[in-house]
């Protein structure tokens, strides 16, 4: 596990295509979610068993959250929001298993934020018509047009850097802590870095579990708020 920035090369395919650690961990998460979805939707009983109960609670709570935040008429966005929540949530807590979270790479978070950006503007045009959408940029006064455009472009950037900054900050602090504990235990004359066991667990719970799940929730909530604000 390294500190710092950006993608780490795993292999380079011929033709200059770089497969970074972000991509491989993302593949792994995709595989995990696909297997989960396959087994969750394989067979539905009228009298649900334990696993089906858990899945039903998960789906129902995502639908309820979407309904409360976006309103009854935009309930069709719930599958996308659920996917976003599950993917970012699992990506953020993958640091617990010794992987480097894909969201600690600015490419992932900016990609997700651009997806939100495209959805916001597509749905704004679709629900309000192109005329009133373009007119919205001239409000409250026509000379504020450049400010409105900059304000719209700042949204995906702040969305991306909020997630990225939180996760990468946690990763860097964990790396610093592991290095410091290794240094202390080696200067105490112990061959194995014994202090690295146990002590970082508290910070893992905060940075990976709490902050990670909170940031995935916040990213999803902000996406919902932006889309429903653009549509009305």
């Amino acid at each position: 596990m390294n500190g710092g920035f950006g993608p780490y090369k795993v292999i380079e395919l011929p033709g200059g295509i770089v497969i970074s650690q972000t991509v491989t961990v993302t593949w792994f998460i995709m595989l995990l979610l696909t297997i989960f979805a396959y087994f969750a939707s394989k067979k539905f009983d009228k009298v649900p068993n334990k696993f089906q109960n858990v899945v039903e609670v998960l789906v129902e709570s995502i639908y309820n959250l979407t309904k409360q935040t976006m309103g009854e008429d935009k309930i069709n966005f719930a599958p996308y929001m659920g996917t976003l929540l599950l993917f970012i949530g699992i990506a953020n807590i993958s640091g617990l298993f010794g992987l480097r979270p894909p969201t600690a790479d600015v490419n992932t978070t900016l990609g997700l934020a651009i997806m939100t950006f495209v959805m916001v503007h597509y749905n704004a045009v679709k629900s309000n018509g192109i005329k009133s959408y373009l007119k919205g940029y001239l409000e409250p006064m026509p000379f504020l047009l450049p400010l409105n455009i900059i304000g719209e472009l700042a949204n995906p950037i702040s969305l991306a850097f909020r997630l990225f900054g939180n996760i990468v900050g946690g990763v860097i602090i964990m790396v610093l802590l592991y290095n410091a504990l290794g240094f202390i235990s080696s200067s105490l004359g112990i061959g194995i870095p014994i202090l690295q066991a146990g002590i970082p667990a508290v910070l893992h719970i905060y940075f990976d579990l709490f902050a990670g799940l909170l940031q995935s929730f916040i990213f999803t909530m902000l996406t919902m708020v932006f889309i429903s604000m653009a549509m009305d």
Binding site: G3, G4, F5, G6, S158, F161, R162, F164, G165, N166, V168, G169, I172, L214, Q215, F217, I218, M221, L222, V225
Partner: protein, 82 residues
Amino acid sequence: MNGVDLIKACSAIGAGLAMIAGIGPGIGQGYAAGKGAEGVGRQPEAQGDIVRTMLLGAAVAETTGIYGLIVALILLFANPFF
């Protein structure tokens, strides 16, 4: 001391200075949490809504601090000058 060393030293100082931006979100989030606690005390049955709104507000208030962190990280790890 050559030019690159000077740039490295100044970048480290600049990264430290950029993290002063952490003061703002600290104050803002503390204020949000205090108001949230006040709201829950006054209306305990609305706790779920209050906590959700408070977390959303705290996340938005955090943005400026995260910008400071990004500037510090760029100065230390992705500096274009060395």
